[in-house]
């Protein structure tokens, strides 16, 4: 793989980052909303601010955060700070920086998302492959195909329903939170089991909620592959069904799915935001939720940007290592 190719992909990555940061910068500014004012509204609403002269405070903080400057100037300084990996300071959780907020929440999100995404990828693709493979046993196909329907079930609905039936009605699992009240988690068995108990419902809703898409696309891919000459050829060679399934069919059908995997992370983050809200889990999603509700733009930008960079980098990475997986493509 040539240096030029790598540089080209990195250039692409920069473009993506630029586009994402520009979009996130300008969209909220098209409205007349003032995040500082809204922050003080939040405080005023929870009491304690009745007689204060809001204008003075607001002006002081507007100056501090620079939102009283001309738009282009703000844009320039915003892009400058992004170049320095500085995502800014939260308005709502001042003086926390956006980076700190993300880093606090990230381990939770990574833990949940990585596992659920990988599991849904593996299970979904297997089911999809089985559903499309004409020689898989009838009962297995009959079992696998309905999972396509899961694509129609947004994780949020699944989460709400699971919570209702398993949490409220059966009282089998906790109703939310990452660990029990009063626990400060650490490396020991009780913490570990406690954590586990709290992660089951969100994980299940995320896995099943995102599995349908894999089943569907894998099924489509599998159907395409079936017609390929090499599969037919392999069948004529008299290879066992399992070998054909594994080596000729699954492997080839899976390759394009890998690219989809990186792309899917973007969607997965979306589901995570909602899941983290429903199950009141700490994580990037709930940080973002708070930020959206409080119009804490800096945090919104930061997280959107962070997710974009993550997804785009993974895409580029997958693209660069793809030739290693697929011998047909050599850069």
């Amino acid at each position: 793989m040539s240096i030029k190719k790598v540089l080209q992909r990195l250039g692409f990555l920069l473009l993506v980052i630029w586009a994402a940061s520009t979009i996130t910068f300008f969209i909220p500014r098209l409205s007349s909303r003032n995040p500082i004012r809204e922050r003080f509204a939040e405080l005023a609403r929870t009491g304690g601010f009745s007689p204060a002269d809001l204008e003075i405070i607001i002006a002081a903080y507007s100056a501090k955060f620079g939102i009283d400057r001309p738009l282009l100037e703000q844009y320039a300084s915003y892009m400058g700070s992004i170049a320095r990996f500085d995502l800014g300071i939260s308005l709502h959780k001042y003086p926390k920086t956006v980076w700190e907020l993300i880093m606090e929440a990230l381990p939770w999100t990574i833990g949940l998302l990585l596992v659920t995404t990988i599991l849904s990828f593996v299970i979904g693709n297997l089911l999809g492959a089985v559903a499309a493979w004409p020689r898989s046993p009838g009962w297995l196909r009959a079992f696998a195909t309905p999972f396509v329907l899961l694509q129609g079930v947004p994780p949020v609905l699944l989460g709400v329903l699971l919570l209702f039936f398993i949490g409220f009605r059966l009282k089998l699992l906790p109703l939310g939170g990452a660990y029990s009240i009063g626990r400060v988690p650490q490396w020991d068995w009780p913490s570990f089991l406690d954590l586990l108990k709290h992660q089951i419902l969100p994980a299940v809703s995320l896995i099943f909620g995102s599995m349908g898409a894999w089943v569907l696309s894998m099924r489509g891919m599998g159907v395409t592959i079936q017609g390929e000459d090499y599969v037919n050829f392999a069948e004529h060679k008299g290879l066992s069904g399992y070998t054909i399934f594994k080596d000729y069919y699954l492997r080839n059908a899976l390759l394009p799915q890998v690219t989809g995997f990186a792309l899917a992370l973007g969607t997965v983050f979306t589901s995570a935001i909602v899941a983290e809200q429903i199950f009141s889990l700490p994580g990037v999603g709930s940080v973002l939720n708070d930020a959206i509700r409080a119009n804490d733009f800096m945090v919104i930008y930061g997280i959107v940007l962070f997710i974009t960079i993550t997804v785009a980098s993974l895409m580029v990475l997958v693209e660069l290592i793809y030739p290693l997986l697929d011998p047909r493509i050599r850069h």
Partner: protein
């Protein structure tokens, strides 16, 4: 088979999850990890699952999965029946405990357990509760001088005594620091603050300030100022930027010991001055956990109270609290097991409008909107028959109830009928104002419908605003719902539309509420109106009445007379459209804790709001059930 498979799947998921999700939980130092392991082993024998869960949690070392949460070090063991668990939406930045940290400090979320005022006020006993101050007296008849005498023995958590130096520091801070919330009040009234001796402070005012002691220096509901430690804040370069964390010396009985995204843990300190001074008994709650319920659905919170996971939480819709009580008989409310399950808050809600912009600058239009609101139906549908719709801009606490019961006020009610619901009359007023119904059956003038978008807050108005919107729609107003974060900005900037918001003002007499409509607050369009002053109403006749009331105490006849006249103008001009009294429906779970303040158990006279400034009095008076 499928069941088995899915179970297996669950297991695998859980295992892998645990491996990954747990990874960030690596302890910061190995010793802490070891210590906690042995501690956890010790508590494993504990029988009650909740207690053991809590105990194991308690055994935790400073290590936590998030690098940022603050913690005072390893937590000691506290059993569940000595732990008070409160549900509240924690939104402020982790670690902010300094009352002067801005923005970010709020006394809610448990910080009120750390800070104390000169005096508290018990709303249901209508009594002052002297606290750090033994007494606060106006020393001149015209309310221009005030003397504060501090209690002997009051002390900060680091042992330093609370002295007049701290009070002077607190007052001067408010006077000089324009970012502090009471700066404007201090600047308006206070001329000078002087420490006479260690325990005595003299305050002199620029003008008569008969309500300053109550409004500013006394903590009640969400207003008033706590006293801050001079010796700690003096050292800070920027007192507004100093978060406070676990270190800041405070006078309240609880120390913050841990704070992460999900919870804030406070532990009782053994050396609270109030116990030594005989003001209070040693509080029974050794630990208070404020659980972050922000973002949790009401279902979840309610269920967790039923499950005894939490002892109290805010704020329940009327149907929900009824169900909680029926599902768990141990849970009661301010009114026991009876509707309306809540106590009257100080925050009656109106539909506010900016009276300076079209078409809301016309009294008939405002009146037409009021006539469109069916207050009986609101009581029936949203509040299950509880009688809480209102026509007043203030809550009917004893002093105010007495005021409205006056025959003069009742005559005005008769005359203006502020609660009247009459769509036909509403239509007549609109037609007279030059509006016609358009194709959508909405009032229109010059091609413009009446922008009756109601700005409100999702968390507290999601039941009433949709109903109001529909009532206005049915009367021909182009109503919509706005629960976006810009709602408050709409109110503060006077953007077209209606704003559902409260009047956090009067508690004892109507002055503070009526003063909200004084023209001194009538910011012109384009500038920001202060909180609760959204109507931008200006009327010299009205101002004169209020100005005359300002220097007078509430028992003065002129004060009363003018108050009635001002209230008449409020209704005559329909300055805003009063809708409901605000009820706080707080579940009190008696499984672990009793002696909650209720209708029957007035005690100090505080309400049961554990998040309010008087929350400290609520939690320190609780008695264990066992």
């Amino acid at each position: 088979m499928a069941r088995f498979k899915s179970l297996t799947l669950f297991m695998i998921t859980a295992l892998v999850l645990a491996a990954c999700g747990g990874a960030p939980a690596a302890p910061a130092n190995p010793q802490a990890g070891q210590a906690s392991q042995s501690a956890a082993a010790n508590t494993a024998a504990n029988e009650s699952p909740e207690a053991s869960a809590a105990a194991e949690g308690d055994a935790s070392a400073s290590a936590s999965p998030e690098p940022q949460p603050i913690s005072a070090g390893p937590l000691k063991d506290v059993p569940r029946d000595r732990t008070l668990v409160l549900g509240w939406g924690i939104t402020s930045p982790i670690g902010v405990t300094n009352p002067w940290a801005i923005p970010g400090y709020t006394h809610q979320e448990g910080n009120a357990f750390m800070w104390e005022p000169l005096s508290y006020f018990g709303i249901f006993s209508d009594k002052e509760i002297p606290w750090l101050a033994e007494s606060m007296e106006y020393t001149k008849d015209d309310f221009t001088a005030l003397q504060i005498k501090l209690r002997e023995g009051a002390a900060w958590s680091d042992g330093t005594p609370v002295t007049s130096k701290d009070v002077v520091f607190t007052f001067q801070g408010q006077m000089n620091n324009e970012k502090l919330p009471y700066h404007a009040q201090f600047e308006q009234f206070v001329k000078d603050v002087k420490a006479v001796d260690e325990q005595t402070i003299d305050v002199t005012f620029k003008m008569p300030a008969p309500r300053f002691k109550f409004e500013v220096l006394t903590l009640k509901f969400d207003t008033g100022i706590p006293i801050v430690p001079a010796h700690a804040l003096e050292k800070q370069e920027d007192v507004n930027a100093y978060a406070g964390g676990v270190e800041i010396p405070h006078s309240g009985p609880y120390n913050l010991v841990s704070w992460d995204k999900n919870q804030k843990i406070f532990d009782l300190r053994p050396d609270w001055w109030a116990v030594k001074a005989g003001v209070m008994e040693q509080p029974a709650a050794e630990r208070i956990i404020v659980v972050n319920i922000a973002g949790q659905s009401m279902d979840t919170v309610a269920q967790r109270i039923v499950n005894n996971e939490m002892d109290s939480a805010l704020d329940m819709r009327s149907a929900v609290i009824g169900n909680i009580i029926s599902q768990n008989p141990k849970v009661t409310t301010h009114t026991g097991n009876e509707a309306p399950y809540g106590y009257l808050d100080w925050w009656p809600n109106s539909l506010w409008v900016n009276t300076q912009i079209e078409p809301y600058n016309q009294v008939p239009v405002r009146r037409a909107i009021s006539l469109a609101v069916d207050r009986d139906k609101i009581d029936e549908i949203i509040y299950e028959g509880a009688n809480i719709s209102t026509i007043y801009p203030f809550p009917l606490y004893p002093g105010l109830q007495e005021f409205v019961d006056k025959p003069e006020v009742q005559a005005l009610v008769e005359k203006y009928q502020p609660s009247k619901h009459d769509i036909e009359e509403s239509a007549r007023l609109m037609q007279e104002a030059g509006f016609t119904k358009n194709g959508d059956d909405l009032w229109e003038k010059d091609g413009q419908t009446v922008n009756a978008t109601i700005s409100g807050f999702e968390g507290i108005h999601s039941d009433i605003v949709p109903v109001l919107v529909e009532m206005l729609r049915q009367a021909g107003f182009d109503a919509a719902i706005d629960f976006s974060p810009s709602a408050y900005q709409n109110m503060a900037e006077g953007n077209p539309g209606l704003y559902m918001f409260g009047h956090g003002a009067s508690l004892k007499d109507p002055y503070a509420a009526l003063e909200l409509y004084h023209s001194r607050h009538s910011a012109s369009v384009g500038t920001t109106a202060g909180n609760n002053r959204f109507s931008r109403y200006a009327n010299p006749e009205y101002d004169k009445l209020l100005d005359a009331m300002a220097p007078l105490s509430e028992d003065d006849p002129t004060f009363q007379e003018n108050a009635v006249k001002a209230l008449e103008i409020y209704w005559r001009d329909q300055i805003d459209i009063p809708v409901i009294q605000w009820l706080h429906r707080i579940p009190y779970n008696q499984t672990y804790w009793t002696n909650w303040p209720t209708q029957e158990n007035v005690a100090l006279g505080t309400n049961g709001a554990f998040w309010a400034h008087t929350g400290l009095l609520v939690v320190t008076n609780l008695k264990p059930a066992q």
